[in-house]
């Protein structure tokens, strides 16, 4: 077959375009370093030793760091590979086809896939189905190089193996049908590949697991095993949808090829296997794409070629299909380039992950929430990160995933020591965690229960928070302890903004987009820092933000009850009103109503605590006591009605102002509250309470001087809220 190759200058142009698109995909992180080889992972506890396939090439000393290169250099390599692939496909080239190839691959490229691409390109000629292309020993050598090379340098060598076996077997059958003879080089390659795979599976730890990665992925996707979440999810559902559309076009195009000469028909088995892997597991999308392109190049995607379309396809259909293809490609590219949410929020380049590069030395990281491996191979990760557990599903033997999950659940709930399970076995996280000796624990920022438990554990300190993860550092390492000290100063500053504190967010907290900030607020609430949570909450009208706000107020009620033995009416009213509003919004999620119930329970328990001796309970017949009781019982309307009566006392007026002011129906309500406190007939205890509330509001609004003044005035006449006044004062003035 004639080959029409383009001039070298054209390739330089294509490379520049591909390089630009590859860089665009990681514009924010272009300065960072990435691994081209999968670094070795350890998972070596005695009881739960997981069989890990360590890339043989990593045994070479100089490569043990996983070939760390700058991301822009990786992008340059990716662009070169894309253009090389384009060159392989050149004989069917058209401008449109080249654009599609570059856009698709540039949108899909990832550093860890580059070596797999390389080997796929190497074995590309083996996929050729032309009848006049005779197989020689040169093809055998090419196949062996591809197989051995991929097995040594990538964990996805099984994709290369599948393609080689399917295409070579296909070749053997075709020649057998055509000439009645077996093609010896092809047969030799099949025998060598199969024998080597079987032998390696039995003799090399982890080889079989790694070989079965695509099958495991498909099985997990179909059976929805407990660790399905371990699948590396780095893209949106829309991207998958677009991929599905693209794949369907490829299949659609296949029907045209079926009308061709049977000897030139594609290898449908191979194509279907590749499509299946791509559809079932998004991780393999970047690998499936070049394979599909090979198939198209060797005669099966006529829609994308500058050739006469098949007669069976009507012209309008062709244009619709072309339109869909172009849209798909643009969509995938855009979403890959800057992500879906940033596109929607028109804020594409805001950093969303906290930068931990300042962590020096080797850092052993234990991900306690799957789906985060990619975060630890990016620019924000410490330079020498060692993941004790990563997303790769082939790391687990049957049953081990469940064990790890049990350990994680125990650890998150503070169940360190042994206890009995329903199956008669012992559980408890200590032995497993101690055997791993992690330096950092990484939790999902949504896992509030676990974050609360760990934040109260003296052996672990929160050192970083962003919208996706909360990072705890062990208290056993002095360098991490120093960092934890700096982090603590920041958390306390956010809670009590002492003007003398010198703090920085950089490297500790990354608020990110609004949606991230809401999650960060959740983490701070879980750490029992409600004012800090209120400070990072964005001023947006969203259910999730209001939920966090309600949690902050509830936390303040609980804090006041435990510290003062009193109920903070200010926070109780705000919490209850927000919870009522949220309930009315009818959120169609099972989790949120439960969260609201939890908040209501916490409020009820805090109010119910009989912390004051009965002898000190105000007379139940006074209007102030009535109003207070109504508020505690959540009967706000009746409490407000008392305030309408002009003859009421200061206590009732305070309750009324709080109710109307917090409802937003009264202007200058804080001034009116102060007016009640300053009035000569105001009892000392009511004045004390009002000043405490005004101090809290000032603290919340970061008006430090005002807060200090209010707390000092409140302490001039010590009463029920003195404990918190003293605590806040000490934090604000130390």
């Amino acid at each position: 077959m004639m080959s029409r190759r383009p001039p070298r200058t054209a390739f330089a142009g294509w490379w520049l375009i591909a390089f630009g698109l590859c860089c665009a995909k990681c514009l924010v992180t272009l300065q960072s370093d990435v691994f081209l080889l999968e670094p070795a992972s350890i998972m070596a506890s005695s009881s739960l030793s997981l069989v890990v396939w360590e890339l043989p090439v990593l045994r070479v000393g100089i490569l043990q760091d996983g070939l760390l290169v700058s991301k822009w250099l990786a992008a340059a390599i990716a662009a070169a590979l894309i253009v090389w692939l384009l060159n392989r496909l050149a004989r069917r080239r058209s401008i449109g086809f080249s654009v599609v190839v570059i856009a698709l691959l540039a949108s899909a490229w990832a550093p860890e896939h580059l070596l797999t691409w390389f080997w796929l390109i190497i074995i590309g000629p083996l996929l050729q189905v032309d009848s006049d292309c005779r197989w020689t020993w040169r093809h055998l050598v090419l196949g062996l190089i591809g197989l051995v090379g991929s097995a040594v340098t990538t964990v996805d060598f099984s994709m290369v193996l599948i393609l080689v076996l399917v295409s070579v077997s296909d070749k053997i059958l075709r020649e057998r049908r055509r000439t009645g003879k077996l093609n010896r080089p092809a047969l030799t390659l099949v025998v060598i590949a199969l024998t080597a795979s079987v032998v390696a599976s039995f003799s090399l730890d982890g080889f079989a697991n790694t070989l079965l990665r695509p099958l495991t992925a498909m099985q997990m996707a179909v059976l929805e095993t407990p660790f399905a979440g371990l699948e590396p999810v780095t893209s949106s559902w829309l991207e998958s949808l677009l991929l599905a559309a693209t794949i369907s076009l490829v299949i659609g195009d296949l029907q045209n090829s079926l009308s061709a000469d049977p000897s030139g028909r594609p290898n449908r088995i191979g194509l279907l296997i590749v499509l299946g892997v791509g559809v079932f597991c998004r991780y393999y999308i970047p690998i499936v794409m070049p394979v599909l392109l090979f198939y198209s190049a060797f005669g099966h995607m006529k829609l994308l070629q500058a050739q006469k379309p098949p007669a069976s396809l009507q012209l309008p259909t062709q244009w619709v299909l072309r339109f869909v293809v172009v849209l798909s490609v643009i969509g995938i590219t855009a979403i890959h380039t800057i992500g879906l949410r940033p596109v929607l929020s028109a804020n594409p380049f805001r950093q969303r992950l906290v930068n931990l590069k300042a962590l020096t030395g080797e850092v052993k990281v234990l991900l306690m929430s799957p789906g985060m491996t990619s975060h630890w191979k990016g620019p924000e990760a410490p330079l020498r990160t060692q993941l004790l557990l990563d997303d790769r599903w082939d790391r687990f033997r049957p049953g081990q995933a469940e064990t790890v999950q049990q350990v994680f659940a125990d650890f998150a709930r503070g169940r360190r020591e042994i206890y009995l399970l329903e199956n008669g076995e012992s559980a408890g996280a200590r032995r497993w965690i101690d055997s791993q000796k992690p330096d950092l624990l990484v939790l999902s920022s949504n896992d509030w229960t676990a974050i609360r438990q760990l934040s109260l554990n003296p052996n672990w300190n929160v050192i970083a928070i962003d919208g996706r993860r909360t990072v705890f550092a062990t208290a056993d390492r002095p360098d991490l302890n120093m960092r934890a000290g700096d982090a603590s100063r920041l958390w306390f500053f956010l809670e009590w903004p002492n003007p003398r504190s010198q703090v920085s967010l950089e490297g500790f907290l990354e608020p990110g987009l609004d949606s991230d900030s809401v999650k960060v607020a959740g983490v701070l609430n879980a750490m029992r820092l409600p004012y800090a949570a209120l400070r990072v909450l964005p001023d947006v009208d969203s259910f999730e933000a209001d939920l966090q706000r309600a949690w902050s107020y509830t936390e303040l009620v609980v804090r006041c009850a435990r510290q003062n033995g009193r109920t903070s009416l200010l926070d109780l009213i705000r919490a209850r009103k927000l919870i009522d509003q949220l309930r009315a919004q009818r959120r169609p999620s099972g989790i949120v109503p439960e969260k609201l119930e939890r908040l209501e329970l916490a409020l009820k328990k805090a109010v119910d605590l009989k912390f004051q001796p009965r002898v000190q309970t105000p007379g139940s017949d006074s209007s102030g006591a009535k109003g207070r009781r109504y508020v505690l019982e959540g009967r706000f309307k009746e409490a407000e009605d008392i305030g309408v009566d002009a003859s009421v006392n200061s206590d009732a007026r305070m309750v009324s102002i709080l109710l109307t002011g917090l409802k937003g129906s009264a202007d200058n309500w804080q001034d009116r509250l102060r007016g009640v406190a300053d009035s000569p007939d105001c009892p000392v205890n009511v004045r004390h309470e009002i000043l405490f509330y005004l101090g809290c509001l000032a603290l919340e609004n970061r008006e430090v001087e005002q807060a200090v003044s209010c707390f000092q005035q409140a302490l001039a006449t010590p009463d029920g809220f003195s404990n918190l006044c003293q605590l806040y004062l000490s934090q604000l003035t130390r």
Binding site: I251, L254, S259, R413, K610
Partner: protein, 375 residues
């Protein structure tokens, strides 16, 4: 290509596209599902099981061990604060030396017991009491339960504990000498949800728990039959014909581990703390026992000396019959006491150590004293 083939291809296309879309949506959902399913683990703590529990009054009908068991310390290790056993000693707090020094008093109404503390400004602070930990064989400590903003159960452990050996109140082990600031802090230390669970799970047989919230109405206080033998409703329903093999001890290490679940094992201590004669670990009997030569060189376990179905006072664990199984004076092949003693083995080889506040525990690190009598 004929029309039939085209239709097949078309159907294949539709199926694959549908499959792709459905899988995409499912995977997208998986993205937003909590990946660390801390509330959905393969197996839950046996105590939190909601079903399968038998009414333990039915045990007495067939098992004579159940007759005396209610008198054991295990069975009475947790009681309501207003129970007679609790109130019987708590009422004396106000008159105790520490009660007078720290100005504490106790009151009771129809539903609750309250602890009050008079403050310097003549006001008073008050907290309710919920539970009494300890059977009284060594001590009794009171707690109140709290709810945090996540709805989890926290705990307030009171500063004042009643000790059996003195018949008086003293500071609770682990409490600071000076009480802290804050309403609750003046009464004792607050424990978080995990620790609260740990406390109650060791002092109860059944402890239903939902997302950190302990269900006290469903709790079965005290360590009773089903704590060790597992939920037994099926056993009762079948008139004893079925037993659950999961609750049989597989070996003595497994047996000691079951006890160590609450009495603690060696891994829970800093390595430096695991040394003979350390009073800090004397309370945790499995630690010492597992380090003993007697344990390492024999088949003994906890039940070699202890019959957990009978009260300690009714047991023969302090006699020498257990020792003479391996150290029989009549058998010249066996090792005998170097001091020539024939009884009171425990006095020298397992002396009681003072673990603080006069609280003594028998040291289970069985060993031979040196010539001067030091262990």
């Amino acid at each position: 290509m004929n029309l039939g083939s085209q239709k097949v291809i078309l159907v294949l296309m539709v199926v694959l596209v549908g499959l792709g879309v459905s899988i995409s949506i499912r995977l997208a959902k998986a993205t937003y599902r909590s990946p660390l399913k801390t509330d959905s683990v393969p197996f839950v703590a046996v105590g939190t099981l909601e079903t399968g529990w038998a009414d333990e009054s039915s045990c007495i009908g067939c098992h004579e061990q159940a007759e005396n068991f209610p008198m054991t310390g295990h069975a009475n290790t947790l009681t309501a604060a207003d129970s007679n056993a609790s109130w019987g000693v708590l009422a004396d707090l106000e008159q105790s030396q520490i009660g007078r020094a720290e100005q504490v008093s106790v009151s009771r109404d129809s539903s609750k017991i309250f602890l009050q503390r008079r403050l310097s400004d003549d006001s008073a602070a008050q907290v309710p009491l919920d539970w009494c930990f300890g059977s009284g064989a060594h001590a009794r400590t009171w707690v109140t339960t709290l709810t945090d903003s996540l709805g989890q159960t926290d705990l307030l452990e009171f500063r004042w504990t009643w000790y059996h050996h003195s018949g008086d109140f003293e500071l609770t082990p682990g409490q600071p000498d000076q009480c802290g600031a804050g309403h609750l802090a003046q009464f004792g230390l607050q424990f978080d949800g995990a620790r609260a669970w740990r406390c109650f799970s060791c002092h109860s047989t059944r402890l239903p728990t939902s997302r950190g919230k302990l269900d006290f109405e469903g709790m079965h206080a005290g360590v009773t039959c089903q704590r060790c033998h597992g939920p037994r409703q099926k056993h009762v329903d079948a008139d004893g014909l079925t037993t659950d093999p999961r609750w049989a001890f597989t070996d003595r290490d497994n047996e000691v581990s079951r006890c160590a679940e609450c009495h603690r094992d060696v891994g829970e201590q800093e390595p430096s703390a695991v040394r003979p004669g350390n009073p800090d670990i004397a309370r945790f009997q499995p630690i010492g026992l597992s380090q003993s030569e007697c344990y390492l060189k024999s088949d003994m376990s906890c039940t070699t000396c202890h019959d957990v179905h009978r009260p300690m006072s009714a047991q023969s664990s302090r006699r020498i019959s257990q020792c003479t199984q391996c150290h029989d004076e009549q058998d010249n092949q066996q090792t005998h006491c170097g001091a020539g003693m024939l009884d009171r083995c425990i006095d020298c080889h397992m002396p009681a150590l003072d673990t603080g506040r006069g609280l003594k525990f028998v040291d289970h690190w069985i060993r031979i004293p040196d010539e001067s009598g030091n262990l």
